[in-house]
Symmetry: C2
Subunit: 312 residues, 2 copies
């Protein structure tokens, strides 16, 4: 039998497009774009790419459509296995206009998925679960999918004994909690939206909010707190894990790196302290990387020794 894999699910995969322009953006002017850079994006594919960088066995699935979908597939790094389901709509582009000062973002709406396409994906997913040890469900839902789309996938994975890591927010998260996802990873903003009356200004308040989501169904809640690292509320313990203070850079993609760390911890059956340390080290490596969402492996391996883990 094959080694089990980490299965990543990108229901709303994107083509990340970066336009570099020479002058600072002013509204209502016209720019000649110097360079156009394109890479596959969306949270789940970012996580898959980081896992592939670490040479972990990962299999990427999800929905791709149209010319943009083909372009995403073509640009998935060689060696990263994928089994996407094709849809009729057009996958979205996430355009960033990078000027000398900062970046401006434009997110296309993405495809509208039909119920027949969703059923085809469900069938594909059920087949892929057979080779999976853990499944990563990340990112927004495209139009046309039922709000309980993630709930359905969590239930299917649970029925097969596959661990689920869910990184989504809003209605999709709320609908999935009763299906008992193994791990959810809200950031501070998502936590505030999910637990509206929470006080997130203190560690205690964040912990209470996380407990609320555990009570609603999540088995472990890993709250990612930007430069403060993360706060983990587990079935029988709670931890904080923080990166060294010296980490600075581009936070884009740090959350997807955190999820990669949690997923490989499940795959290799490490204990929670190691798993959380890894997740924070990978996030910090992503922040420090000059290319958003990438990690330098040596940097990650070094950072692992500089994470402050504390049991609460």
């Amino acid at each position: 039998m094959d080694t089990p894999v980490i299965l990543t699910v990108a229901l709303n995969a994107a083509l990340d497009v970066t336009y570099s322009i020479d002058a600072e953006l002013r509204p209502h002017a016209t720019y000649r774009v110097g360079t156009v850079a394109e890479m596959p994006g969306g949270k789940a594919l970012n996580t898959a790419r980081i896992l592939h960088t670490l040479r972990d066995p990962v299999l990427a699935t999800g929905l791709l459509g149209g010319h943009t979908g083909e372009r995403i597939a073509e640009r998935i790094p060689a060696g990263l296995r994928h089994r996407f389901v094709r849809v009729d709509g057009e996958s979205r582009r996430a355009l960033v206009v990078a000027d000398p000062a900062d970046a401006t973002g434009f997110w296309e709406p993405g495809p509208e998925i039909t119920s027949e396409e969703w059923q085809r994906f469900r069938d594909r997913f059920d087949g892929l679960l057979r080779v999976a040890r853990v499944v990563v469900l990340s990112g927004s839902l495209p139009q046309g999918l039922p709000v309980d789309a993630y709930a359905q996938l969590v239930a299917a994975a649970r029925d097969r004994g596959v661990t689920t890591i869910l990184d989504c927010d809003g209605e999709a998260l709320r609908a999935a909690l009763p299906q008992r996802p193994d791990v959810i990873k809200p950031n501070a903003h998502e936590l505030a939206a999910a637990v509206p009356d929470a006080d997130l200004s203190t560690v205690d308040g964040i912990r209470k909010a996380a407990e609320t989501l555990r009570a609603a169904g999540a088995r472990a809640v890993i709250a990612s707190l930007g430069p403060d690292g993360l706060l983990a509320v587990l079935p029988d313990a709670a931890f904080t894990a923080a990166p060294p203070e010296t980490v600075s850079g581009n936070p884009t993609g740090a959350g997807d790196a955190c999820v990669a760390g949690l997923a490989r911890g499940v795959l290799y059956d490490t204990g929670w302290p190691t798993r959380l340390t890894d997740a924070v080290a990978l996030s910090a490596a992503a922040v420090r990387s000059p290319v958003a969402g990438r990690v330098d492996v040596t940097d990650y391996l070094t950072l692992r020794h500089h994470i402050h883990l504390k049991e609460l």
Copy 2:
């Protein structure tokens, strides 16, 4: 034998993409794009589309590459005949971000054309000249093409007795003039660049600048002057033609409509007064159209009766 056609040449065809956003653009913010509209663009294809709207026999050629090239081909209106040469590079997108106040433009650089691809186009062009009465050469040259690319096409058309209408600027225009294009259509900005010491503040000054370009090789110079219409300097006469004062709207694509009017005038062998009247009426109809670069046929037919033509 088939009816001869108007052949339009789009060496740097574009996919015109419009992102509509709800709020006025501020630099360094992030926007969810409400709608994404795509249509084939670039000056020559805009002219071809207008000719097709008028049910004139038109055949579009040029260079298309990559996924964006496929997308351009797919979106050419049904019934508009085309015979593009495929290249390895990626055709450009011309992105407009339309907010409630105005529009911001981002022009991708476009493909790099190899000398082998250019030779393939030259062969295709020579074949298509057999069915052409007039050829429209419009727009910028993609990277990799020789600066005398238009000069070569003008010479090839002239050798076959096909009338040429050239709408380009800068080095490409300068290089083509010695090949004696039949018609060039600079706008005020292009005229100023081509004749640096010209005084374009008076009709006399514009006429003198146009005469300079005639002396350099162009047989007829049609200077397009925005809301003032056009000034035509022909081998044996000169005219101004102006739209009614009431025309207002979006000037994008008005120049391509003007070229369409000139091209159909050649095809149907109308005299210059009719031809110039048509060109201004089509331009004015394009300005008035709610969709940039389109024309309403009835509006055009009506406007023809309200153009002020004056022999100088």
